[in-house]
Symmetry: C2
Subunit: 493 residues, 2 copies
């Protein structure tokens, strides 16, 4: 890298990249973000010489007193070349405080918002920025040290569309294959005098340490380390593309409901995906709900992935970025803490308690009813009860319920003796956890009771003392039914 390309060779290399990767079209304007540093000045000069119609855009970050001079300088550069110049001022320190961003993050966000707003205004095809091969290496290295998986290790792309700022206007980086030293040589040959030593030196302390301290150390381990890392990014981008394609299909397969602040995935389908794809579907859900959240680490994704395979007893997990995971039957819900999570169409009580006449019925929420009916043919009831596999209906011993039956919600201290568990009585709360009744459904789930005792948890089990026996003289048929088109097993809705 001691011999630098001439400015003509430099032009040719950039043009080749633009053509090969189809970055820009000469018939439409391009917004170029120009800070005044060597990279962006070079980009402006090169694109102008190559005949691409440009709009030069500069954001004054108002961080340093020199910022106003710099703005003037960039303006002069543009006007000397007869190029349209647009600028804006943002008080970045203030913006950072307001948004809770770091100075770097705030400057970056303000800058791109400005550039894309200008691109929209002037109907530009793209926003071009001056990232070089060295920026790429630093980005990849930063992600490697912080841990970002493949999406981070693949670095920046020469063309990003869609990107975080637009679905239609591409973000392009025509200098991404060119080293900083080559840019500096170009500036020297073309007498371009950068306004800044390097762009945004102040608020990229970490990046500067990488650039000036760490990378030279790594070069002691492999003198070619920069090109190795650059090429690794290229190769990983190809891998990432394949994985993204697969994940897109998996996402479509697993996605069940998408709302403002909640996403519901099919749990069984998600579990069938191999772990690499499963992780990406989770990541995608988080990114969809929190598009601005930039600190997604793989620890969160990892914990979510483990939770899916081995849920905790509560079937809930705190995720990240103000999101939580909730598992309900075959649904995995990813939702904000205050999200109005779409309910299952469960049978739910509107009030605390209701009286169920025999024979008669009561109405529940979500289009459910519970019916009670005196059975006339005890023999037949006995036979039906023996073969019944529908958890939404039971036959109970009429003697055991005496006068009337209640349907009520759960109470502190409720106990339950499910049929077929050898007469073992448990706390109702434990029972509901064990049978995996959705947590959110528990408070208002209808319970059929006689006096204080629970006779039936509709959809789940009959209580042992209420079963039909050979001495039963009077039988009552209880039936939980849906009147909605969701008719089916209450547990599955």
């Amino acid at each position: 890298m001691q011999e630098y390309p001439t400015s003509e060779e430099f032009l040719k290399r950039v043009e080749q990249m633009i053509v090969e990767e189809n970055l820009l079209d000469r018939n439409e304007p391009t917004v170029v973000g120009v800070s005044g540093g060597p990279d962006s000045l070079t980009l402006m000069d090169v694109l102008n010489r190559l005949g691409y119609p440009l709009i030069i855009a500069h954001l004054n970050h108002q961080i340093r007193p020199e910022a106003w001079d710099e703005e003037e300088e960039v303006k002069r550069f543009a006007e000397d070349r007869g190029l349209r110049f647009v600028s804006s001022q943002v008080n970045v320190p203030e913006y950072a405080r307001d948004q809770g961003f770091s100075l770097e993050e705030a400057a970056r966000t303000a800058r791109y918002q400005f550039l894309f707003a200008e691109a929209r205004k002037s109907e530009a095809q793209a926003v071009a920025v001056g990232h070089t091969a060295d920026d790429q290496v630093e980005t990849v290295l930063m992600h490697f040290l912080r841990g970002a998986g493949l999406p981070g290790l693949k670095g920046m792309r020469s063309q990003a569309l869609p990107n975080s700022w637009s679905e239609e206007i591409a973000l392009v980086r025509p200098l991404l294959a060119i080293w900083r030293q080559e840019v500096l040589a170009y500036c020297r040959e073309r007498d371009l005098e950068p306004v800044l030593d390097a762009s945004n030196e102040e608020f990229t302390f970490y990046r500067n340490r990488l650039r000036h301290e760490l990378i030279p150390i790594l070069e002691q381990y492999n003198p070619e380390v920069r090109s190795v890392i650059w090429r690794t990014a290229q190769v990983l981008a190809g891998d990432e593309e394949v994985l993204e394609r697969i994940s897109q299909t998996a996402w479509e397969r697993c996605l069940s409901v998408k709302e403002e602040d909640a996403i519901i995935l099919h749990l069984t389908k998600l579990r069938q995906e191999v772990s690499g794809v499963k992780r990406r579907v989770i990541r995608r859900a988080i990114e969809t709900l929190r598009p601005d959240f930039r600190d997604l680490d793989f620890e969160s994704v990892d914990r979510a992935s483990n939770f899916i395979d081995k849920p905790t007893r509560s079937f809930e997990m705190d995720l990240t970025a103000g999101l939580r995971l909730i598992m309900e039957e075959d649904r995995l819900i990813i939702a904000g803490w205050s999200a109005d999570i779409p309910e299952g169409n469960w049978p739910q009580m509107d009030k605390d308690v209701d009286v169920l006449e025999i024979s008669g019925e009561i109405l529940l929420a979500n289009g459910w009813i519970i019916q009670a009916e005196e059975v006339t043919d005890i023999e037949e009831a006995w036979e039906q009860a023996q073969v019944n596999e529908d958890p939404n209906q039971v036959w109970i011993d009429g003697e055991a319920v005496e006068r009337s039956i209640f349907v009520r919600t759960r109470r502190e201290g409720d106990r339950f003796q499910p049929l077929g568990m050898g007469g073992h009585t448990t706390r109702l709360s434990d029972y509901l956890i064990n049978v995996k009744m959705p947590k959110r459904a528990r408070a208002k789930w209808p319970l059929v009771s006689a006096g204080d005792e629970i006779a039936w948890v509709p959809g789940y089990a009959l209580a042992h003392p209420f079963r039909l026996s050979e001495s039963t003289k009077r039988a009552i048929h209880l039936h939980l039914k849906s009147r909605s088109h969701f008719a089916g097993n209450a547990k599955r809705l």
Copy 2:
């Protein structure tokens, strides 16, 4: 990491990993590679305490004079625990010289060959080695600095099957999630006195620099960098698994012929794969032909991938590991330099020249014939020639060929004036390149000539002077035909 697990907790963690990842079975023996360093001593002690039946295997590398004492020590360790001990000696420095390996490479190869040979002899289920989480981090970092793409960045697996040494016996690493400091603490608690400071210190200079110099520096950038890198490897392994699965399908789709020293892929199908998958198919081909080649860099794979999309004029490329790429019609051949590459079923001459009687036929290699036939109905020949689209037959002007026709191979200085190119005469060699005749087929391709002049390149074009014209009084029909079941266009075979 300042608090270390007690030896009991340590046991539990290893056992959990063995069970969760299904590494070992208590009913079958396991060969443990024990150098005498803290990692392998710990592995032996832990697996023994957990009740796995073990065979302790030690390879004496004969590099240092202490090697014999170390062998004795490891033997004593094993016998103290009532474990079977096996050992072998290899003169590693000599082996390295013979094989052209580095000392590290030679020691590694000799060691694994010994361990797997022992495992085969004793019908063991697996070979267990003592790699720790730190080894994993160092491996990943080494690959990152040298450039190895995802297959390198994913690091080592806790269970590798198949592996480079066996298709049936797994290589397992039960300590892969445990840090070196934890291993040392275990040794202290259990009074295990390592025979070596750390395994193989001598010939892992590069790795030791990473361990003692670079990683502490990286920790200044992120104190958690070791766990970050360890977790990155885990995540990337999941991604790699997905990609491997896809590449396997792509490999099956693209593979056409697999021979001793040559692989042929369907070019069109390969070109349809996205770049990440294309790269992996190429890598797979190289690995299949050169299973022992360990230095496959992505530069070679990259060049091959570019060559496939934009072949050079010669349609040949030097690859790596003594392999080359040859593009022939729809075939991509990857072959050793001296490989006997499977031929296309092209029409080829067995001798330099042959006389083609009119009417008559001559035999070519690979079951082809060329027929010449006097045409009786000139009008009909004219009409047929006008609509003919089959490059394997032509009608020529009988006046132009006078007495007889030759079929011969190419000669120095041959020129050719293809019909329909405005009477432009080119060198035959250029013409054959332009029409992409497979390079290997050119020397023996049959050329129909009259005197010295080429009248027809069968399968490609008629020469302009030999075309039928309105003044033609005598016409000859020439036909290239295959007698094999490959009948079809000569160019496509």
